[in-house]
Point group: C2
Chain length 241, copies 2
Amino acid sequence: MGMESSQHAVVLLSGGLDSATTLAIARDAGYVCHALCFDYGQRHKHELDAAKRVAAALGAVEHRVTTIDLRAFGGSALTADIDVPKDRSDVTDSHDHDDADIPITYVPARNTIFLSFALALAEVLEADAIFIGVNAVDYSGYPDCRPAYIEAFQNMANLATRRGVHGNALTIHTPLIDLTKAQIIGRGIDLGVDYGLTRSCYDPAVDDRGVARPCGHCDSCLLRAQGFRQAGVADPAVSAE
Amino acid sequence: MGMESSQHAVVLLSGGLDSATTLAIARDAGYVCHALCFDYGQRHKHELDAAKRVAAALGAVEHRVTTIDLRAFGGSALTADIDVPKDRSDVTDSHDHDDADIPITYVPARNTIFLSFALALAEVLEADAIFIGVNAVDYSGYPDCRPAYIEAFQNMANLATRRGVHGNALTIHTPLIDLTKAQIIGRGIDLGVDYGLTRSCYDPAVDDRGVARPCGHCDSCLLRAQGFRQAGVADPAVSAE
């Protein structure tokens, strides 16, 4: 890569398959990876356990969990007391979303908040890069998953910090942004990601052994299932059950 | 102002004199004001009490306090176990700061994190504006108090949200950005701000009645004292003692 061996990256990690693949790509590019995960009052806390396992399995040098309070802001089925939608027929029609069709699972300004904390950690660590697994193909109508947004955040970030003031630019990497879910899974398998460690469900059931099982019906489960089907491989998180 | 009477603004409020003046300006411009305050593990929790009094006195329709955890990121005397500097001889030499002279009281990416939460709240409330009391004159070397930074944040914000996607731009107002501390105080007095309610000290002592008293020696106390001296008025938070 022609990169200095000591370059550090902050990698946003959720426990899902996209961010696990992103961490594998960052590590493969030679970065020393610091995983950053958020406890934001989400229903799917099993994500946090999955993120910890993924960070360890993929060689992150540390895994930080930061608690942030989004509940005061309401407005999302993931944090407020609103039912998670199930078996939506149009969820896998990813190219047909228009701007009015932003799903109820949207958390206000979520990526902006997450990237802001990543920026703070990057500044403290003197990291050169932030990796985030946003995707504009299966982007599900989230405005803060688009390339123009990421570019604008990077520009702002380099005006916000000591590092940027000194002309030493931070780069925000979005290695999944143009990939389909099936391509993401293919890339991760090439890099040795164990998708059995990842969890995507918005609304899992916890069985009597305390293990969180995906519901199989929320938007996230439907997109994940379609991705594995199109990649032509079995989902180890499902087939292990 | 030619503004619709129902326009809403999120106003970042700290309990200090700058943000109190900012709230008074936003209200004077006709906005329905929602004060947003942060509990980020700062030493100066008396700021939170001051912010509550200021929000009530200046007619904010609500005062939300959001807890965020910056302690995991370290790097600042305001949140970590580092002594607050006292009686620095160059602190009021505000025009002589160069970029290398960023004070130890700097919190990494603080304004970016605060503005990101303000953006989330603005999206939920469908607010038209965010007000922040940053200042580039007495800016003390903070990179995230400069006009170019604010402009870049606004650009990013309008790509991040449903509102921006629909072409209904959010504006970030920085009414103090070009004012000296003395001019800020003069403007606030014109608008009826009771500066006796505000607190600025980074390291106050709590007396035996539980009242927080400014130390008079930290950077913030020195800048405040200079501002009142130059404005030619007594500081009611000091003279009341």
